[in-house]
């Protein structure tokens, strides 16, 4: 969020209360990430454990199948990798992945 989008004290609800539901989509937590999940589509059984466990709803699912991981929101917590019964997700240090991009 850039500085010029920030609102003044007269324009925001009092008490730090968030008065609209579902606005966490606007808070992109991907920048927190140190480790990036890499998914091996060959190993994935589409059990959707990762989708259930992901605290940031970053696992994208379409027609009952894992489509990918939304890196705008993925904090790199690694819960998906730990819970995946097929060991289809690996956590790679972000700096190493970024260097290769």
């Amino acid at each position: 969020m850039s500085t010029n989008e920030l609102k003044g004290w007269k324009e925001i609800p009092i008490g730090g209360v968030i008065v609209e539901a579902g606005n966490s989509a606007r808070y992109e937590t991907g920048g927190w990430r140190t480790f990036r999940p890499l998914m091996d589509g060959q190993l994935c059984k589409n059990c959707l454990f990762c989708w259930i466990y992901c605290p940031d709803s970053a696992i994208e699912v379409e027609d009952g199948k894992v489509k990918g991981i939304n890196l705008r929101y993925c904090k790199g917590c690694g819960i998906c990798a730990r819970e995946c019964p097929a060991k289809a997700i690996q956590m790679i240090e972000e700096a190493k992945v970024s260097a290769g991009e």
């Binding site: 609102k7 004290w9 009092i14 008490g15 730090g16 209360v17 968030i18 008065v19």
Partner: protein, 393 residues
């Protein structure tokens, strides 16, 4: 007009709570405020109120439960004293920061150590920066009246701040005095229906209380709190005006006594005003032009109004029933003296720390203060800026 009844300050306050009929009270007992909630618990048990009474395991939990209930959308009240208030400290800031108009009686008592259960203002004064409105009461009638007004002040849409109403431990909380109660219906009409701002229980509009608020917005929310305190001032006066129309009893930011033609004055808050008035009357009989100003509202601090009320004086003694160790003086003194700095000329201002741990403030003590003021008036010099008035050397 109600007929006079005899009650202690605590029982008067419990009756105000009965008439207010809050949705939730969460409390933990501590002397000398215990009796407030004890009596109120009887009202709950007897079905006199509709309140959900939560007996918490500590004051920290009590205030936490109050915050949760207020965020849910309830009208919420509690009471505490001294170390109980100290244990609430963290939650006091959360109540005000979340802008929840919780109303709390603080039966003012000394803070340990050494352990002491008697009246002074160390507890309330320590919470002066917590974002709560603070109103101090001289007697049981004022404690009752202030509590009812506090509900209306805190819930006002321009304010939305928690309010603490103080009365001196034991001196007021446990002394039986005559006072007048309003009728239940009068109180009900005066406080009106409570309309919460963002109630968690409104499932049609889900809201989040207490989200992380970092460098980008925290300052703006604190600025809002500062504004709410500013806007509380006209609300406090309007509520006092409406209350006077109902009860005949007048309130403001402070009360003055024989001040208009005075050259010297004593500023105090709480129960010691009564003693001061008595001594001032005797001094007046001897032609000493001394008056009294009793501060009722400490937060928001009525700076401009005090300037207008005190500017004509030559000398002023500010009485603090609390010390602020290592500071320029007691908390009331520091702020009153600061308020008068802009005036030219301004009165000479001296400070007396008195009555700590419930130590009596006697007639002779106030006579000594008046003698000191006369000396300052005559010589123009201040010998002692800060005097410990009721302490043995």
């Amino acid at each position: 007009m109600g007929k006079p009844v005899a009650m202690t300050g605590n029982i008067a306050v419990a009756n105000a709570m009965r008439q207010i009929n809050p949705d939730v009270c969460a409390a933990y007992p501590i002397t000398p405020s215990t009796e407030v909630m004890q009596q109120f618990a009887s009202f709950v048990a007897d079905g006199k109120v509709d309140t959900e009474l939560v007996t918490a395991e500590s004051e920290h939990s009590a205030m936490s439960a109050c915050i949760g209930a207020a965020a849910a959308g309830g009208r919420v009240m509690t009471a505490t004293s001294a170390n109980g208030l100290a244990l609430m400290w963290e939650m006091l800031y959360i109540a005000s920061g979340n802008r929840l108009p919780i109303v709390m009686t603080v039966v003012n008592r000394a803070l340990s150590a050494p352990i002491n259960i008697h009246g002074d203002h160390s507890d309330g004064m320590g919470a002066r920066d917590s974002g709560w409105i603070q109103i101090y009461s001289e007697n049981a009638q004022e404690a009752y009246d202030n509590l009812i007004q506090a509900v209306v002040i805190g819930q006002h849409r321009d304010v939305r701040l928690p309010v603490m109403v103080g009365m001196d431990g034991f001196i007021i909380s446990h002394s039986i005095e005559n006072l007048e109660l309003l009728s239940d219906q009068e109180v009900k009409d005066f406080i009106g229906e409570y309309l919460p701002l963002y109630p968690l229980l409104n499932i049609k509009q889900p809201v989040t209380y207490g989200p992380l608020d970092l460098q980008d917005y925290y300052s703006e929310h604190k600025r809002q709190q500062a504004e709410a305190m500013k806007l509380a001032k006209p609300v406090i006066l309007k509520v006092a005006q409406d209350f006077a129309a109902l009860s005949g009893r007048k309130y403001g930011f402070f009360e003055t006594y024989r001040l208009d033609d005075a050259e010297m004055a004593i500023l105090t808050l709480g129960s010691s005003a009564g003693t001061a008035r008595f001594v001032i009357d005797r001094a007046r009989e001897q032609g000493v032009k001394v008056g009294l100003i009793k501060l009722r509202v400490f937060r928001p601090f009525p700076m401009k109004e005090l300037q207008a009320a005190l500017g004509h004086l030559k000398a002023l003694a500010v009485m603090d029933r609390c010390d602020s160790f290592g500071a320029a003086g007691g908390p009331v003194f520091s702020e009153v003296r600061s308020a008068l700095y802009d005036l030219s000329p301004h009165p000479a201002v001296v400070n007396y720390i008195y009555g700590l741990g419930g130590r009596d403030l006697g007639i002779a003590h106030i006579e000594q203060v008046i003698r000191d003021l006369q000396e300052i008036r005559q010589t123009g010099c201040i010998r002692e800026l800060l005097t410990y008035l009721t302490v043995r050397e």
